[in-house]
Symmetry: D2
Subunit: 135 residues, 4 copies
């Protein structure tokens, strides 16, 4: 699991006085990028090698709202790996309170957006860091 | 079902050259607002009466990417109504091709964000416009 | 001058209950794209020809806030043309009331982001549609 | 002067492969909030006291693009103080290279959005931290 910390900005809020619901997906992206970096996979480098991880499916459960100026934690786990896809799971917290959970599934594709198998080094790093599916 | 048409702007895109995945949730919001308006419920007026429809759950399936300058259609349906929640379903199309589908579930709450029952007039308008759950 | 109409969405607002200040630049982009289209220049086609119009300078004057669900008008003019740049000016209105004004200056560059002269056809279409600088 | 560090995310980019021009204004907001916090003024607390700092004018000069995964620095200064407004100036850098500069001017208003004079404690903290206008 990888944890990052974010300060909620005014830009993130809506007139209900809380984080707009779509913005959690952008928070998930930040969590995902740092999870990959923490296991030795820079997403930027993956793209430079000609591979991409577009999103196939995303879901988000909103339990309690994050507010302006809150410092929130994004906890990201590598949840599942298949032949040509990965799934990450996310927990957004503030002061240990769980606010939002979610998952995103990504296909592994080449420049023509065709699904391809993971190169061996990427596969190995991912499998070594797969979390037990306790949630 | 209500349909709206949007032109994909540069702001919507990311460096993969397609619409960034979180932005479809903002497209869904536009579809939802116009669905409500089309059945006689202005969301702005709902808020002025002291009620809100925060999102409980959102999901999105990405089939094919929308690109810059595409004119996309957002088709929105009222999919399910419970005592204090509604679910909308969405289909995003371009030239009749289905790009993205999704659902959002909303609780019906008061100013203190406490779930409340729908006022009779709102409930009636919603129930009259509930779509058959064929999808 | 070209006019487009937009409905302010929840995504556009912040917790002050008005459109977040950065979002007007995205509104300007929509106005600019439609201005170019209206004079026969599709920005998408310009990019396909290998040219880009990145922003060199942007400014925005905030007179009165746009609110959720407002239908706003973006009026866009081609304000100035130089050898390798154009400037657009913008007025955002709601019910004839001026809310925001702005300008963006764009360089004309090739794929390597090097400034280049306008192709003759683009230059001619732009010059024919340059507005008198009365503002 | 206050400095903050940000990692450019995919959400920030557009299909030109660089940060979308409007997003720098959101970066400026983050810089401004931390500048205020660093001099003892939490913007959240200012709002809780019934005051707001809406933007009157913003401008942005784009020198060189920030790219995906860049770590950028936002340097923010308190540039000018008048009876009921403040101006902040910004410099966005990557590896010491200046990418973007800007300014935002803010009125100081009450809940009815009427301009008001600064409370003495706020005024004093701001004046003590006004930078010399060398830029």
């Amino acid at each position: 699991m990888n944890s990052i910390y974010l300060r909620v900005s005014y830009a993130d809020t809506d007139q209900m006085g809380m984080v707009y619901y779509a913005n959690y997906l952008a928070f998930f992206e930040k969590g995902r990028t740092e999870l990959l970096r923490s296991i030795g996979l820079e997403y930027k480098t993956i793209e430079e090698r000609g591979f991409y991880l577009p999103v196939l499916h995303a879901e988000c459960k909103y339990i309690s709202p994050a507010k302006y100026d809150d410092i929130i934690t994004i906890e990201t786990k590598l949840y599942e790996i298949t032949a040509a896809s990965i799934t990450c799971s996310y927990g957004v917290k503030c002061d240990e309170k769980l606010l939002v959970t979610g998952k995103t599934k990504h296909s592994f594709v080449n420049k023509m957006l065709k699904p391809v198998r993971f190169p061996k080094d990427i596969k190995e790093l991912m499998e070594k860091n797969l979390e037990e599916q306790t949630i």
